[in-house]
């Protein structure tokens, strides 16, 4: 090939120039759409200006090239020579502008990135705020329900503990650091004998009867933080004492300082009485065994003394000095034998017969025998017998002896007064299946200090010669042999009233169906 035709280059140049214009404007269109959609986006802004400059460059260059071809086709080379520098210069300037826009993009993009970073952090913060706002809104929505639910729960809990506090049969109290009682339940006030409503302000200093007990309580509480099963005596409103079992826990404030205590107190009066009765019954059992042994040993020589003295009485006239002495010996020996017989009865060593017995009939017999002597001392006898009293199984004679003893004791308690009221009551308690016979007097009563000893053998308050001190001991033994018990009340509580009247009441309680727990020696 010796030459190269330039016609393909001319065609390519012309067609290419047209395509350049078309694609540059299509690009400009999309760049414009991008900036319109997201005007705040710097990248789209840059691309828009870049495409605009490029489009200007493309138009300038394409027009220049097309003009060149057209003018050269039409053989107007002079005109092209005139326009050529303008076209070339414009192209140069636009190319520099295009480069400048591209370079300038560097600073812009940095600014954009900085703004974008801030925007992202703001968006993150906003998102977090939005999440927090949503949570807050959710919480607000459920807050009312939650408050209502919690209030109900608290109310139920408060009611439960309030009921426990109010209905407790034991004393429950709260005190401050100065031992002043802040709150106490009704059982506590009742235990101390104060009215539930309008009780005075109490202090543990006044409630503890013994200072030593309070000192021990306070020191233990401070040292250990609690007091457990401390047996102390509390002072009641009327000045008397009552034994209680105290447990308490110290309360501390937020700073860890002792601020008071909360305690529970159990009344030990009933338990203490039971314990005393148990101790007494044990003592009676041991005394009974001893008495049985002694009585058995003494009975034989007494029988011999009585026999010989009666034999000797045949040898002397009753008027003689010897006869009178022997009569005295016989009488005193018989007295001794009676004592021995009583001791044997107390220790259940004597013979016994069992049959169906009506307590009402026994009491009527006793009244018939004793009424005369009671009337002599102006003592009125009252009967309050239950009509449908069931029969019990027992020894009529021995039970009669019990009630004669009780009536005689009541008589002695009232005879110094010159008058009195003796009341005999019988009742049936279906819940315990017991027949209760009560012998109640209006005498001087039984002092607390001797109450625990009245069933002891040979214990008596009567003058010498009037009592042997075995009446109540024997009665105790007989009733115990019948599976029952004797309870003492002095002073006597008046029914349906808190008042008490002077005197004493012995309640003999015998089970209707005799349980064969004791060895009945027939």
């Amino acid at each position: 090939m010796t030459s190269l035709p330039l016609s393909p280059a001319i065609v390519t140049d012309m067609v290419g120039s047209l395509f350049i214009i078309i694609f540059s404007f299509l690009s400009l269109r999309y760049a414009f759409l991008l900036t319109k959609k997201q005007p705040e986006n710097f990248l789209w802004g840059f691309l828009f200006y870049f495409c605009m400059t490029l489009a200007a460059f493309a138009v300038s260059r394409a027009i220049g090239h097309l003009l060149k071809h057209i003018l050269l086709f039409s053989d107007k080379q002079e005109l092209w020579q005139l326009i050529s520098p303008i076209s070339g210069g414009t192209n140069t300037l636009l190319m520099i502008s295009l480069a400048a826009v591209t370079i300038y993009y560097h600073k812009g993009i940095e600014g954009y990135q900085a703004i974008n970073k801030k925007a992202r952090s703001l968006k993150d913060a906003y998102d977090q705020l939005e999440v927090a706002a949503d949570q807050l809104q959710g919480m607000n929505l459920h807050l009312e329900e939650m408050v209502a639910e919690r209030t109900l729960e608290l109310s139920a809990s408060e009611k439960k503990f309030r009921n426990l506090f109010n209905n407790s049969k034991d004393m429950v109290y709260f005190s401050d650091s100065t031992n002043q009682v802040l709150t106490m339940n009704g059982a506590g006030f009742e235990m101390l004998g104060y009215p539930v409503h309008g009780a005075p302000i109490l202090n543990l200093l006044g409630i503890f009867k013994n200072e030593d007990d309070l000192d021990k309580y306070y020191k233990t509480l401070l040292a250990q933080g609690f007091v457990e099963d401390l047996e102390v005596e509390f002072a009641k409103a009327d000045g008397t004492g009552t034994y209680v079992l105290l447990s308490a826990t110290a309360v501390y404030d937020d700073a860890g300082l002792f601020s008071g205590c909360e305690g529970i107190v159990k009344d030990l009066t009933r338990i203490k009485t039971m314990m005393e009765q148990l101790a007494a019954s044990e003592k009676m059992a041991s005394v009974g065994q001893m008495a049985a042994g002694v009585a058995h040993e003494i009975n034989t020589p007494l029988g011999i003394i009585l026999g010989y003295s009666q034999l000797m009485m045949d040898d002397f006239t009753p008027e003689s000095e010897q006869g009178q002495n022997l009569t005295i010996i016989e009488r005193q020996t018989k007295a001794c034998r009676k004592i021995v017989a009583d001791l044997l009865k107390f220790s259940r060593q004597s013979e016994s017969s069992r049959e169906d017995v009506s307590i009402n009939e026994i009491l009527l017999d006793v009244i018939a025998v004793t009424q005369h002597s009671l009337n002599m001392d102006h003592i009125n006898v009252h009967q309050d017998f239950a009509e449908d009293l069931p029969l019990i199984v027992g020894d009529t004679e021995r039970l009669r002896q019990v009630f004669v003893n009780l009536v005689n004791n009541a008589h002695h308690a009232m005879e110094k007064q010159g008058a009195g009221e003796l009341t005999m009551i019988t009742r049936y308690h279906p819940d315990t299946h017991e027949v209760v016979a009560t012998v109640q007097d209006t005498g001087h009563g039984i002092p607390d200090k001797i109450r625990a000893r009245i069933f002891d053998p040979f214990f008596t308050t009567k003058s010498v010669g009037k009592g042997t001190g075995l009446g109540l001991s024997v009665s105790y033994g007989i009733i115990q042999d019948h599976g029952g018990r004797i309870e003492v009340e002095s002073p006597v509580a008046v029914k349906k009233s808190e008042e008490k009247m002077p005197g004493a009441a012995f309640h003999v309680k015998i089970p209707v169906t005799l349980v064969e727990t004791t060895s009945v020696r027939e």
Binding site: T2, S24, Y30, L33, L34, L43, T92, L93, I96
Partner: protein
Amino acid sequence: MNSFRKITTLALFLPLAPLLTPDQAWALQSHGATESIYVHQLAHLFYSAALGYLFWDVGRNAFPGKGWRYLQIFCVLMILWNLVAFSGHWLGFHIADSDIIHPSGYFSSQITGPLSVIKLIYFSATLDHLLSVPALVFLFLSLRCLYRSSDEAEKK
């Protein structure tokens, strides 16, 4: 936004500046044809450098999406075009007027023999639109992709 306005003003007024400048003003300092072609050639180099920078920066920022990859292809093709155009202008100095003849009008123009390497390269350089047109096509594709992806992002 002030930066955008400045760029806009610059881009709009710079092309018009020579048209508004009187001939007498050009005479204030003598600038021959050689000087013009040097400025033009420097503009090509400046433009190539700017495109190179744009290519590098797009890659550095790792902008996601096909649109940005198309823009990088555009940069590469335009840099090549700049180099071809630069070569074409430069080789133009080594082509004598007698090397191009017009036997029967402008359309019948030919590069006369014997054909040297310079003449062959010069001929290739006259076909520069074979690079610039695909470059513009990739620019168009790039912007269309960016627009569509922004559209999809908005829909999401």
